[in-house]
Structure formats: C-alpha cells, structure tokens
Symmetry: C2
Subunit: 305 residues, 2 copies
C-alpha cells in the first residue's frame, strides 16, 4: 500500500467505488460503498470517505460523478462544451479535508439556443477514453438510464445529447399496460435481432409499434420474454433514430462505452443499421481518467510539475 | 320512466354509466357506478347491473366497452376492420340475463402483416359520430390514455392505430427524473402553444428534447407548471408526428373526439401544424350510438323490424 500515490473515487448516485492508485495509475486496492448523494450531509460524506480509505496512505484524492452535484459533498459547477481534457484538468475543484487535498471533477453542460443538456460522471469516462485515443474524431454512445451521445473532434468534446432510454424502458415496462406483457430480460436474443432488422428496414413510427406489442399479446398467445426483447428493440431503435435526426454521425467511428450487458444490445441494433462499433467498458476507463487528470493538474505527490 | 325502451351502458375499465333511453334515443335517466372489470365475477356483474338499473322498466340493455373483454361480463370478440356500422350491428353478442336480453358491442381489431391493434369502446363513439355523419371520409383522432387514430372512408372504418400518449405522460411525469420538474396541469397555456409552434418548425427529435426539460431545470430557475406544459407539448407533438409517419392524413377532415380538457391541447397542437379540426365530446356520442346499433339490430321493444 505504501506505493500508493493517489486515491480515485467513482462516486455516482447509488454507489461509490474507491481505488488506491500507484505511480503508473494502476489500482493496488479497490473498495465499494453506498453513495449517499441526496441523503448525506457534509459530515456523512466525510465519514463515508474515511471508511472507504481507511488504512490507505495520506495521499490526495480525486473524485468524479454525482458527488460534485448540488446534493453532493462539494459542488463542482458544470463546465461548458466545447471542451477537452486540458480544459477539464484546469477546471477541477479542490478543497482541504483535514490535511488532505480532495479534488472533484466538474460535469459538463450544453446551452445552445433552446437546447440544454448536462452530464456528470460521463466526462470522466470520456477523459479515460481520450487518454488512450488522444485525437479521436467520431461519435461516442454511452448507453444507460440516461444515454449520452457525444461528438468528438480531434480529442475535443464539441456536442452531446441525452436520451432517457433506460428510464423510459423502466417506466414503460413497469408503469404502463405493457407491464402485463413483458418479463425479465437477459442479453439480446433472436427476437431482438429480428425486430431491430425489421425496424431498420421500416419507415413506420416507433410510437405506433409500442401498443402493437400489447395488442398482439391480446390477440395471440405470445411469450413475455419475446415481448420484452421487442420492447428493448423499439426503445433502442427510437434512440438510434433520434440520434441520427439530431445530427450525430454514424458513418464515421462509432464507439460504445458502457456495461457489457447494455452495449451488446446497442451493438446488435447498430449492426442492423449497417454500422460497426468499437466497445469499451465504462468503469474500466475511470481510474486511467482520474490519474491522467490528476497528473495534468499536478496533484500527485512527488510529481515533478 | 315508463316510456323507456332501451337501457344503454357505457362500461369502461374504471367506471360505468347507465342510461334509460326513450323511443327517440334520448336519456330519461342516468346513473353511474364502478366498473369492476378485472375484479368482478359473473355474479358481481349481475349485481352491479341490478343496482344500476333498479326501478327502471324491464327493457333490453346494450353495453359497450371493457365489459365485453375477456375480463368482462361476457366476452364479445374483436371484429376485424375494415368495418362499418352495418357490420357492427350484425356482430353484436346477445345473451339472456333472467328474462332480459343483454347485448354487448364487440371491439375492433387490426391484424395487418406485422401490425396489430385493438380498440374497445371507441368503436361505439365512432358509431355515434357516424350516426350523424353517415358517409364521413377523413381522420378521427381520439386523444386519451391510449389515443386512437382512425381513418374513415365513406363511413367505413378502414384503419386505426393506437398511441399510448396519456399513459406515457403519466409514466414519464411520475416515474422518471422529470417528476422533479413538473407540476399539476390545467388547460394549455402560452408555454404549451410556444413549444408546439417551436416543434412544428423544428426538425430535431422529441426524444432529445425530453431530457432537455430536466437539464434546463438544473441550469436555470424554471417554473414547474411551464415544464409540465412543455412535457405535454413534446408528447402530443410526438404523437402527431408519429400519426403522420404512419400515413394518417391531416390534410382532409380532421375530427377530435374526446374530453374537452384533452381535445383543446390537441386542437392547439394541430393548429400549430396548420391544421383545423372539428371537436366532439366522446361521452355524448355513446347513447346515440347504442340506440342506433340496437335499432339496426331490431333489439328495441315494440320496434317494427
């Protein structure tokens, strides 16, 4: 443990992951805890931090995610896009907790005429991707509760857009009449693949297809697993169509960043649209990102500026 | 009461309305009760009917709505479109309850390749509209929990499509992150009107606009009533765009059938798209429809066939 130089914290809405990183940015030790964002006060955050980092050396810490929101430990205001890793590392918010320096990565915001958008946490995964693909130009899709679509030009985040696909899926499958029709879900199966192919070739509305799932369930015996796959297909294709409508380019490099479970659904749907992707697990990008940002900001002990 | 010749029942999912109709189809007396569909067994439906029609003469009864579903009193299977009032009146399901004839209006279904759809209750409102507009050609939009779009040609129902707009509104405003942003709603105000005008002129996706409501709420002080109006605008415009995508014609006669509260939202949105409408209250169409169907099927006492 004595070779630890930096503590990284991936502090989201429900969970927090902490890692002690060595001088190469590798995790020597990792721990998990509850996030507390939304319920914790200042003292609670301190106690939670102490519990997570107990026995680790007194090195600086850097945190990303909802911990920097208005309901978090210390607010790190949103930074406007366009922006790159350089600007991000110059905009970190640092404070003293006892003898220790704690730094928080700000989220990003977009205010463009009538368009408004925000992200918090994803900017760090993007920084992790950019640490290994410095001058990337292309579209990054980050599937999730709130999917983020991001346009990058020469390593610069120039535009992004959120689609609430994951949240729609939960709301529709749990709180509408379709709850009678759908069952639990694993990965994409042939029903998902068939439906996305059909939709890719079809010009009808997704809205019209949704009640059709219910109607078919009433008119025919129909497997609930199949309906859940088809509901996923409808909502993911709605997102892909919306992303194209909103001007995101699927003809250049398309990178998927997210959990393996989710990215495989999107990969299948994008393939049906004739689009190949490169996939990254979002969580594995966080430690390299935090290490890179901390190094750029000269936060690491013994670091030569 | 002694001049009552027919009992009409508008028996939906949550409520039932009953009317005693005279020889001209006018309601002499009206009552309301709970529907019971989904919870009632055979005996419960009988008891409910007895309570509703107590003191009324022993005349035949005709019922429309979910009372004819699989979970209803007696199932009246869906009838395929295309269909007209003539076909509908020849497809009524009648049974004896004691000495009394009870008749149920079937719902409609569409099975067209991969498209599936159903309606139950709306076919009766359509029959009520057609009783006064016999050879109507045009598009009827019936806003609601499950909005129905219907294409009629010379008084014939040739196509229909359900959009789950009302249910989406509830699911999104109560069960997603937007619940933090929206408040109670009355009729459409200028925020609604502005937003539908903006969307009518705009080619961006509705999906992208949704999270934007939340983001603006985070970045600016923003009135919750305004956000609710804008959420209504987004979801109604999504339905109108979907209806057009699915081939419904908004350039010919467009008729709105529904509650006054809802139709005024749709009227405002359609106006922003350059489309004028004729509005009807759905509930006022039911007694004329049931009377017309019963007369066509020779169900009315003392009626000369």
């Amino acid at each position: 443990m004595s070779n630890g130089v930096l503590i990284g914290l991936d502090w989201g809405t429900t969970n927090v992951r902490a890692a002690l990183l060595d001088a190469h940015g590798n995790a020597i030790d990792e721990r998990r805890g509850e996030s507390g964002v939304g319920q914790f006060n200042q003292k609670d955050f301190e106690r939670n931090f102490d519990a997570l980092t107990q026995d680790w050396p007194q090195v600086p810490a850097i945190a990303a995610g909802m911990v920097g929101s208005r309901q978090g430990w210390v607010e790190a205001e949103y930074l406007s896009v366009p922006c790159d890793t350089e600007v991000l590392s110059n905009s970190l918010i640092s404070f003293k907790y006892g003898e220790r320096d704690i730094t928080i990565v700000p989220g990003l915001k977009l205010e463009n005429g009538a368009r408004y958008d925000v992200m918090r946490g994803e900017e760090t995964q993007l920084a992790g991707f950019l640490a290994a693909h410095e001058n990337f130009t292309g579209t990054i899709i980050m599937p999730g509760t709130h999917s983020k679509w991001v346009t990058l030009k020469s390593g610069r985040i120039v535009d992004f857009q959120t689609y609430m696909t994951g949240e729609f899926f939960d709301a529709v499958s749990e709180h509408t009449i379709l709850r009678h029709s759908v069952s639990d879900q694993t990965g994409p199966d042939s029903f998902f693949a068939d439906k996305v192919k059909m939709l890719a070739a079809n010009s009808g509305s997704i809205e019209g297809e949704l009640f059709g799932l219910r109607a078919r369930h009433l008119l025919e015996e129909c497997d609930a697993g199949r309906l859940r796959q088809e509901l996923s297909a409808l909502l993911i294709m709605a997102e892909l169509r919306a992303g194209q409508t909103d001007g995101f380019d699927l003809n250049q490099h398309v990178v998927l960043v997210g959990t393996e479970t989710l990215t495989v659904f999107y990969e299948t749907a994008l393939k049906a649209m004739g689009c190949s992707t490169q996939n990254h697990r979002g969580t594995t990008l966080v430690w390299p990102a935090l290490f890179d940002l901390a190094a750029k900001a000269n936060l690491i002990e013994g670091q030569i500026a």
